[in-house]
Symmetry: C2
Subunit: 343 residues, 2 copies
DNA sequence: TTGTAGGCGTTATCAG
DNA sequence: CTGATAACGCCTACAA
C-alpha cells in the first residue's frame, strides 16, 4: 500500500557507509564525524527514514509502553481520570519516548490479573499504572508474582509490598466532620460511594467513627448507599428529605453525588446551606462551578498521578520494582454549601 | 530483577524439538501432532512462557497498537470521549489483540502531524483514530502523505480523501430550529461552541441560515461565543438575560453549555421552559439527568466510534487505506426544556 | 572514526 | 508432521 519503510541498510548503501555508522548517528551516542553524520541525516530525511522501534525494542527487550489499567466505564467520564492522567503526563512526557496504552480492568477476565500479567510477559508494556483499584480485583496478587513494575494510584493496596499512592481519606473525612461539628451540626447523614472501591468504605467508616467518638446518634436511614454517580446522589437526597428527623447536614462520598444532592434539595425548595449543609470529597472541577460552590476535601489528584508515575519510571530505569505506600494529604476547602444549622 | 523470560528455544530444548515446531504450536496454525503440541503446552505453562510480542512484531512488521489521537485536555473530561471510546472497543475488543495507545494532539508540535507520522514510520502504531480534530490541526495533510491508515471520528475531514465518520450537524440543527419555530419561537439566540472545532462553526452557520430562510432577524447580542464548557454557557446566559428584546429560546452548541444555561436562568428566577426554552446538542448522558430534562439532538456518538474503528481495522487487515466520508444522522430528542413562548 | 560479526526471539521457506 | 536456515532491523562488542 505504500513504499516499504526505509531501513538503515538503505541509508548505509546510499552513503557508502556501514549499517553500524548509521546506527550510531541515530543513537546520537558515540562520536561520528560531523560530515558523515550530516550526510546520513540528509539521506535519512530524503528517504523519510525513522528508526524501526520494533527492531530496537526487540534488541533492548523493552516495549516503550506504559500500561494504564482502570475500569474505563467508571473512570473515563468525569474529571478524576483526566486529572490523574495529567499527572502521569507530567512525569512521563512525550519527550520521554514512552507511550501510554489503555486497558480496561472491567473487561471480562481482567480482574484476576492474568491478562495484565500476560501483557507484561509478552513485553507489550514495560510497567503498569493502575487507577482506581476495585476491591474485587484480584490482580494485585497475580501481578506481584510476575514482578511487573506497577504502581497503584488512588487506592491503597491491600498488599503492603505493592507500591501505591493514595489520599488520606480518614484525615479528609475527619476534617469535614470536625468542621460540620464546629458549626453546630449534630444530625449528619452520609451518602456512601461505590462499594467497589475501598476508598468509599474507608470514608464511611471514618464518618461512623467520628460520630461515635462524639457520642452522636445516627438515626436509621442516615447512611445512604450510592455509587459515586449523580443519579445515586439524587436518589439518596430524595430519601433523606423524607427521613425524620431531617438531617441538618449531608456528607457525600464524592463531589458528583454532593452536587446532585444540592440540586435535588433545591428542586424541593430546600435551601443549601440555610436549611441543609452539604459537603463533598475530591474537589472536582465541578465543585468550583456549581451553585452554591461546594465545601469539600481537596484531593491532590494530579499530584498523586505524577508522583506515582515518577516512581514507576524510576523503577523501570533502575531495573527495580517500585516500592512504598505514599499517602497524600487532602485539605479542607470551605466554600458556600455549609453553614450553621438553623436553631 | 527477575528470571529472564523463557523463550521458544528453552521450550524446544526441554522438549527435544526444534524452535519452529514450538512456534507452530503458538501460531496454532499448521498441523502439529497432538502429543507434541500437548508436551509443548505443558512445558510452556511450567516455564510461564509467553510469546515475545516484540519479536513477533518485528518479524511481521506490525505493532499491534492502534493510536487514538485527541486533544486530551478537552476530551477526557466529560462523556464525549468516553462514548466514542466505547465504540472503538466494540469494534476492536481485547480479543483482537490490539491495544489502544493514547496521544495528545494538544501537546506541543503535535498538531502539524509530524509526530504522529513519525509514530507510524517508527511502527509504534498500525493505524490511527483521530477524535475531535481541531480546525488548526495541520496533521491531516501531513499524515496523508505518510499513508497512515487513519480515520477521523467526530469531525468531517477537510480533505475528501481522508476517511472520516461524523454527525450531520446541519440536519440536527435544522431539526431543532424547525421544532422551536413550530412552537412559535421567533426570537432565538445561539451560543456557539468552541471555535477550535469545525463542527461548532457548522452548527452556528446552519442556525444563521435557518433564521435567514425564515426571514427572521437576529438582534445584536443574540449570537454568543462559547467554548463548549459550562463556564462559557453561564457567561453567555448572563449576557442574554440582559439583552433586549430578551430571547424566547436559547440554542446551545452542545449539552454542557445548555445545562449551564438552564441553571443560570433558574438562578435568576427565569423558568425553563415557561419563560425561555433551551436546547442542546449531542444528547450527552447529563442531558438525561438534569432538570428540566434537556431537549437536544441525539448524536450516535459510540456508533460513530464503532464504525470508524471498524473501517480502520478492515483497512489494516486488507493492507489498504480506509476511505470514504460517512455522515451519521442525529435525531431530535424532545424533552422538558422547550415549550411555546408566552404570548 | 568506522567496520565486522553476531545476537535479540520470532516466523517463512523449503527440505526431509 | 518436523527441522535447518535465513530473514526481520537494530544494537553491542570487538577490531581495525
Amino acid at each position: 500500500m505504500h513504499n516499504p519503510h526505509a531501513t538503515m541498510d538503505d541509508i548505509a548503501r546510499e552513503c557508502g557507509l556501514s549499517k553500524k555508522t548509521v546506527s550510531r548517528v541515530f543513537c546520537d551516542s558515540t562520536a561520528v564525524k560531523k560530515a558523515t553524520r550530516d550526510k546520513v541525516m540528509e539521506v535519512a530525511k530524503r528517504l523519510r527514514y525513522e528508526v524501526n522501534i520494533l527492531a530496537r525494542n526487540l534488541n533492548q527487550n523493552q516495549s516503550g509502553f506504559i500500561g494504564v489499567a482502570t475500569p474505563l466505564d467508571a473512570m473515563l467520564p468525569g474529571n478524576y481520570f483526566a486529572e490523574i492522567f495529567q499527572g502521569f503526563r507530567r512525569a512521563i512526557p512525550d519527550e520521554s519516548g514512552y507511550i501510554f496504552a489503555l486497558f480496561d480492568t472491567n473487561s471480562e477476565s481482567f480482574n484476576d490479573g492474568e491478562k495484565l500479567a500476560k501483557l507484561y510477559r509478552q513485553r507489550r508494556v514495560d510497567g503498569l499504572l493502575v487507577v482506581a483499584l476495585h476491591t474485587h480485583d484480584r490482580f494485585v496478587g497475580t501481578l506481584e508474582q510476575v514482578h511487573v513494575p506497577m504502581v497503584i494510584v488512588g487506592e491503597k493496596s491491600a498488599n503492603r509490598s505493592v507500591c501505591s499512592v493514595f489520599c488520606d481519606d480518614e484525615f479528609g473525612i475527619n476534617q469535614l466532620c470536625s468542621y460540620l461539628y464546629s458549626l453546630g451540626h449534630r444530625r449528619i447523614a452520609f451518602v456512601q460511594g461505590s462499594n467497589e472501591y475501598a476508598t468509599s468504605l474507608r470514608r464511611k467508616e471514618t464518618f461512623l467513627q467520628f460520630m461515635k467518638s462524639k457520642g452522636l446518634e445516627i438515626p436509621s436511614g442516615y447512611i445512604q448507599p450510592g455509587d459515586n454517580s449523580p443519579r445515586s446522589g439524587r436518589a439518596a437526597a430524595q430519601i433523606l428529605l423524607q427521613t425524620t428527623p431531617r438531617p441538618t447536614a449531608i456528607m457525600a462520598g464524592n463531589d458528583a453525588m454532593a452536587i446532585a444532592i444540592m440540586e435535588t434539595l433545591r428542586a424541593h425548595n430546600v435551601r443549601v446551606p440555610e436549611d441543609i449543609s452539604v459537603t463533598g470529597f475530591d474537589d472536582d472541577t465541578a465543585s468550583r462551578q456549581c451553585s452554591p460552590l461546594l465545601t469539600t476535601a481537596h484531593q491532590p489528584i494530579s499530584d498523586m498521578g505524577e508522583f506515582g508515575a515518577r516512581k514507576l519510571i524510576y523503577a523501570i530505569n533502575s531495573k527495580t520494582l517500585p516500592r512504598g505506600n505514599t499517602m497524600m494529604e487532602p485539605s479542607l476547602i470551605i466554600r458556600e454549601s455549609t453553614a450553621s444549622p438553623r436553631p
